[in-house]
Amino acid sequence: MRLVYVIFKFILFPGTYIRGFWEHLTCKILHLPVESEGYLRADEACGHVEHALATTGWSAWLMATGPGFMMFNAGMSFLYAGILNIFYMGITPYDSLPMFIFYAVLIYLGVSFMCSLFPLTEDILTYWDIAFHGKKGPSFILKVISFPLALVTRIGAFCEKNCINFLLAIIFIVLHIVFAL
């Protein structure tokens, strides 16, 4: 599984690299020690930075969801800019080869960003532990508000770790081809 994970992460290297950058930047903002800063590496932390776990609720939340938020916005924009123009507006290589390639690249970028959406399991478990098990967790209202996204992030991190997100990305594209082409 580790090999498959690393292969997919390298195939979708733009998202992997930018995810690493956002994590690194978040660590800098939060003054979290970053032990190993290579973004593209041949292990399970590919696309992430090895850093100390956050100790407060806010920093744990930001570490777990901040980079994912940036990746989601960029990924959705890239993905749908490509999908709308190729699958719906019907741009084909016969209309304009450069434009078709441009939109196809946007779809690739979108998939690569969306496949690097979630943090390492440790990051979301840290927030989970602080918020829902720890004594110094956030207020009840913040717990309730953050719970759905925390749950999605936890499930997403599990999926990403086990390469399920790659499978979902492929299914997503195939469904669009079947539906819209």
Binding site: R2, P14, I18, F21, W22, H24, L25, K28, H31, L32, P33, V34, E35, S36, E37, Y39, R41, D43, E44, A45, E50, H51, A52, L53, T55, M70, N73, A74, G75, S77, F78, Y80, A81, L84, N85, I86, F87, Y88, M89, G90, I91, T92, Y94, D95, S96, L106, L109, L120, T121, E122, L125, T126, W128, D129, H133, G134, K161, F179, A180, L181
Partner: protein
Amino acid sequence: MDNENLNNIPETETPEIEAEETAVAEAVEAAESAAEEAEQSEAEETVSEPAEVEEETTEETAEDKDGEETDEENGQTDSDSEEDEAEQMCPGCNANPVASGHQYCRKCERKYVKTRIGFFRYVAGAVALFGSFFAFVLVSIAALPSLQVFEGLIYEKGKIAYSAVESYRGTDEVVSSVQEALGANSFTDRFLRTGSGLDGKLFRATVKFYNPLMAEQYKQYIFDSPGAEKYKAHSKAVAENTRIYKKYEDTYLKLQNVYDGILNSEDPGVKDGEKALAEIDALRGQEGVDDVILNLFAYDIAGMCGMGDEKIYGCLDKTYEERGKSDVDWSFLYYDPYIDSLIARDRDDEALALTEELAKKDISNEKPFSQQAKIYVKKGDMERAEEIVNTYCANNLTKDGTFSDSGYQMLIWLARIKGDYKELAETRNAAEQLYDLIPEYNRQQALAYLIEGKYDDAYEQAYLADEKAYYRASYYNDTSAMTEEIYATLYVSAVLCDKYGEKNGENAEHIPEIIESFKTRKFSGDNVEQIVSGKLDVKDVLTKGGYDLI
């Protein structure tokens, strides 16, 4: 980094261990604070005993994995855990003990906090950020046209042929309006446009829902324009249609010949019609055409040859009864005339049931709604008719909140039926500001003038309606605009203007040739013939029964 032991913490155990660490750290914090400085200074000594440290760390990790339960089972005290925790080594240098409440020793932590993000990484992040913003702009400008295509796809999946084709056709219009709103510039020219893939969708919907004869004509319209050779290369639908067409070319040619024979005939009458129907019947059972299509052709021929209502209705009944014989849903071709025929034969309840079924299927198709309204008008229930028209209009507002072209069409019709000609004129003016090529607006106005006895105005409006229909057919390939109703209105208006009008209108000079061209034409029903011959008063025809000439 080993994911099983990220930051020296087993991945699956992180919450528990973290909690344990926090609790332990709190408990020992006070005691540790005094000893911490001393521990830091003794760090070098600890390094000199690596074997011992390694052994202790291994034991600690094993204990960590077992968790609290293991501690309880072994009967260990809290002070044991505190001791282990205090002696944990920094995972960064593996030389100094971890600082209390931290995950690294102070030296490593200082080093790691100062880790720099390289210039290239900032550049990559900025490029990604600006790129995503640009992509967002692309999504925003393509969203509305794509939504239109999405609608078409949904209709196509639901086999609502007419709406699917109309949605695809309307996409270019949406693109134009977005371009207009943004102002034409090189950016919108390059990034906001539809491609031949959309033509492919349009054609596919046509092939799926029309018969191959129509598709072949449509193919010529879409794909045979100069420079459009490229479309043929990629469109599977074109290839499929061409294959079917070639395979059954003989059958189609025979079918086409029957049509051509009638259209080219100088005097298409009942005799020619019977012969044509016999030729159509001879094609039954041949591959490439199914009985439903042949029945529809027979209905068309019966209408064109003026073979009488009984024959025409018979063809429609047969089409409806044998609808199950085809794999393709041709209902959009026969439902409208069939329902109209039911209304004409006073089988209102059957017609009403069918229109209700169709209206539920597709709330954007105005035909079942207008037919329902006509039935209620016929039954004298004007309130219900008005309610149906208003419901349709409210459900089909444009994106600007105005009525759709067909909504206006129904409102204008309703105003005429109610005899409110002032409202009719106002609504028509408002409609024409938005939609300038809808012949029905002018036809309804012409009918209103006929009721009022303003024959010159009626003729001018009927002439305008005919002109718009011809324009739509010529420039938009919309032959459906050239209806029998438009011809009937033009013919009746021309005759009455010729008889009673002052003939001083802009197009009065064409009256003699119009009358001459329609003299031999057979219209459905007897109304047109009887009005022209003076046996029926046009006002009576237009204010009773079907409220129309046909």
